[in-house]
Symmetry: C2
Subunit: 339 residues, 2 copies
C-alpha cells in the first residue's frame, strides 16, 4: 500500500530569491518506527517565510538548515504505523517533521489533531503556529486597546490576516497593507478591515496611510520591513507598540540594506519595538489555541488557505511566498487521508 | 542689592550645530512675585542635549521652544523674595525655569533642595533629571541581571555615567563608549567600568566592542545613535534590551540619515527597543531619588560636574555638549548663594 518515499534537501544556500535548483528531491526508504515511534504519512506540509532565514548560515533564534539534509517544518499527517502507546493508526498528528512523504517520529514530539472539530490543515494555519504568532504578537506586545489604530503589513498572509482580525475583535481601527487589489478587497470586504492599501500600486504609501489612519498609528504589526515599514514608522503615536514578526521584504536581499534610522522616532514617541518568535510563548499555547478555536467557531475569525497540490510543488510553493502569491496560509497538499 | 535681569531667547532655529548667533541676551525687568509666588535668583543652570530637539519645530514628546521667547530648563536657585507659604527667603529650590538671572515662579512648581545633604547643583545631575533618566531607563527597560553585559554610549555624560555605575551595582560587566582618552580613563579608573572605548580614535569599533564584550551585549543603553549604535546592535544577544535615551549623534543633522535597518537584528534576537523620557516615571521619582542619594552617600555612585562660570557662557556651554567637551554633568554657574 505504501508508495516510495521522497525527501527534499537544501543543496545550496540561496543568494537572493530562492530557486528551484536550491532544492533536490531524493528517493529514500520508508523508515521503520521503533518503540515509542510512529510512521506518519504527510497530508499537508507548511511553507513559511521564516524558513528563508534558516537557509542562510547565520546566528539566529533557530539553527540554520544543514546543506544536503532534509528541510524540516510543520506537517500534518496521518499515522500509518504505530509502535507508541496512546497513538493509533489513522490518527491525525501535527509535528515538526522533514519535507518527506513519510516520516518516523517519536510520539511525544507529535500533537494529535482532531479532524472532526475543524479541517486538519488549520493546525498549520489559524489554529497553529501562524495563528499563535498573531495572537501573542498582537496581544502580548501590541496590547491593543479599543479605539486605537492598528496597521498590519503582510496583512493577507497567514499571520497578518489573523492579527488584523484579532485587532478588530479588540475594538481597534485596522488598516492592512498587502500586495494586490484582490488582497485589499479580501481584507476589507471579507475580513472587516477598516481600510487596506495595495503597496504595489499606491503612488504615495505614506499619504495613503495617513489618510487611512487619521489618528496616527498606535500599533504596527510588522511582517515585512523595508520601505513599507519606513513609511508606517513616520506616523506612529506617543506610546506606540511595534511587534516585529517578520521582515519578508528583506529576506532575499544579498546585503543588508539601508533605511532611515528609526531610533529617533522611537525616542520622541516613547515607542516600543520588540522582535519575537512564537515559541517564546510555549507555556501559553493552550490558552491561545483555545481562544483562537473559539473565535473561528463563532465566525469572528475567518481564514483562507492557499493550497497547492502535490509534494513535487513544494519548492514552488515556498518560493511563491516571496512573490506575494498567496492569500492566506500557503500549504502543500501531499495526500488525502486514508483512514 | 539686585542686579539687572537678563534672559536668553532663541532667535533662530539652528540648522545643524547650534551657533551662538541663534541666541540673544535681552535685558528684562526683575519681576515681582504675586501671591503664591517667589522670586528665584539663578545659581546653577542646566544645559542638556534634549534641549536641541526643542529648538526644532516638530512633533515630539515635548513642545518646541518658541522663537523670540526665553529658553526654559532645569535651574537651581535661591529664593530672594517670597509671597508663598512654606517657602522662605534663602531657601534653595529646583524648577523648570527660564534661562534668566531672576525668575518668578509659583511655589507649587518648585521643589526645595537641601544644600546641606549634598551640593545643590546635584539636583540638576545625579540627584536630578539625568540621574533619574539613567535609573529608570536602565532598571525598568534594561532589567539588568548579574553577569550580563551592558554597553553604555555617551558613557561619560551626565546620564551615561550614572547608568554604567548602576549596572555595576547590579553585578553586570559594563563597557562604556566615549569620545576622548581622558573620558575612557575616567570611566575605567574612577567609575569602575570594566572597559571603555574611544570611538573617535578606534580603528574598528565593532572589533573593539567584540573584544570588550566576549559574551555579547545584553543591554545597550543608547545615548548617541548613529554608527556607534549600528556597531553595538550587531553584537546583541538573544533577549537583549535597548533603552533609547538619546540620539545626540543625530540631533544636529540637517536631514535624516540612513543606516542599516535594525528590525532584522531585533527579530532574530527577540530583542526589545524602547524610547523613553524620564517624566514617564514621575510617580516613581521619590523611589529613584532616595535610592540614588543612598548610592551617592555610600560612594557607590560617583559623579563629576563640568561647571562653566557665568550666565553669559550659557550658549557656549550648550553648544559644547555636541562637541563632546563635557565629562559628567554640564552646568553653568550663574551666582553664589547669598544666604
Amino acid at each position: 500500500m505504501l508508495e516510495n518515499n521522497q525527501e527534499i534537501r537544501l543543496i545550496s544556500r540561496p543568494k537572493g530569491m530562492p530557486r528551484e535548483e536550491d532544492f533536490q528531491f531524493v528517493e529514500v526508504p520508508i523508515p521503520e518506527p521503533r518503540e515509542g515511534e510512529v510512521l506518519v504519512r504527510t497530508l499537508y506540509l507548511s511553507v513559511d517565510p521564516y524558513m528563508r532565514g534558516r537557509m542562510t548560515e547565520r546566528k539566529s533564534y533557530i539553527a540554520p538548515y544543514r546543506l544536503n539534509e532534509v528541510i524540516t517544518g510543520g506537517i500534518v499527517g496521518e499515522v500509518v504505523r504505530s509502535k507508541a502507546e496512546g497513538i493509533a493508526k489513522g490518527d491525525v498528528v501535527l509535528g515538526e517533521l522533514g519535507w518527506r512523504k513519510y516520516n518516523v517520529a517519536k510520539a511525544k514530539h507529535l500533537t494529535k489533531v482532531s479532524p472532526h472539530l475543524a479541517p486538519a490543515s488549520l493546525a498549520l494555519g489559524v489554529l497553529g503556529m501562524p495563528g499563535l504568532t498573531a495572537y501573542f504578537g498582537l496581544l502580548d506586545i501590541g496590547q491593543p486597546k479599543a479605539g486605537e489604530t492598528v496597521v498590519v503589513s503582510g496583512a493577507a498572509g497567514a499571520v497578518g490576516m489573523v492579527a488584523g482580525q484579532i485587532a478588530k475583535i479588540k475594538g481597534c481601527r485596522v488598516v492592512g497593507i498587502a500586495g494586490s487589489d484582490q488582497k485589499v478587497q479580501y481584507l476589507t470586504q471579507e475580513l472587516g478591515f477598516d481600510a487596506a492599501i495595495n503597496y504595489k500600486t499606491t503612488k504615495d504609501i505614506r499619504a495613503d496611510l495617513k489618510e487611512a489612519c487619521p489618528n496616527g498609528v498606535d500599533i504596527y504589526f510588522d511582517n515585512v520591513g523595508g520601505e513599507i515599514s519606513d513609511a508606517v514608522l513616520t506616523l506612529i503615536n506617543q506610546g506606540a507598540r511595534i511587534p516585529i514578526c517578520g521582515q519578508i521584504a528583506l529576506y532575499n536581499l544579498e546585503k543588508p540594506d539601508l533605511g532611515p534610522r528609526i531610533q529617533t522616532q522611537l525616542l520622541i514617541n516613547r515607542a516600543l519595538m520588540k522582535g519575537f518568535i512564537v515559541s517564546d510563548y510555549k507555556p501559553r499555547f493552550k490558552e491561545g489555541l483555545t481562544q483562537l478555536a473559539e473565535w473561528v467557531r463563532t465566525g469572528k475569525i475567518k481564514y483562507t488557505e492557499n493550497i497547492i497540490e502535490g509534494f513535487e510543488n513544494t519548492p514552488k510553493a515556498f518560493i511563491g511566498l516571496f512573490k506575494g502569491e498567496n492569500v492566506g496560509k500557503q500549504l502543500v497538499k501531499v495526500a488525502d487521508r486514508l483512514g
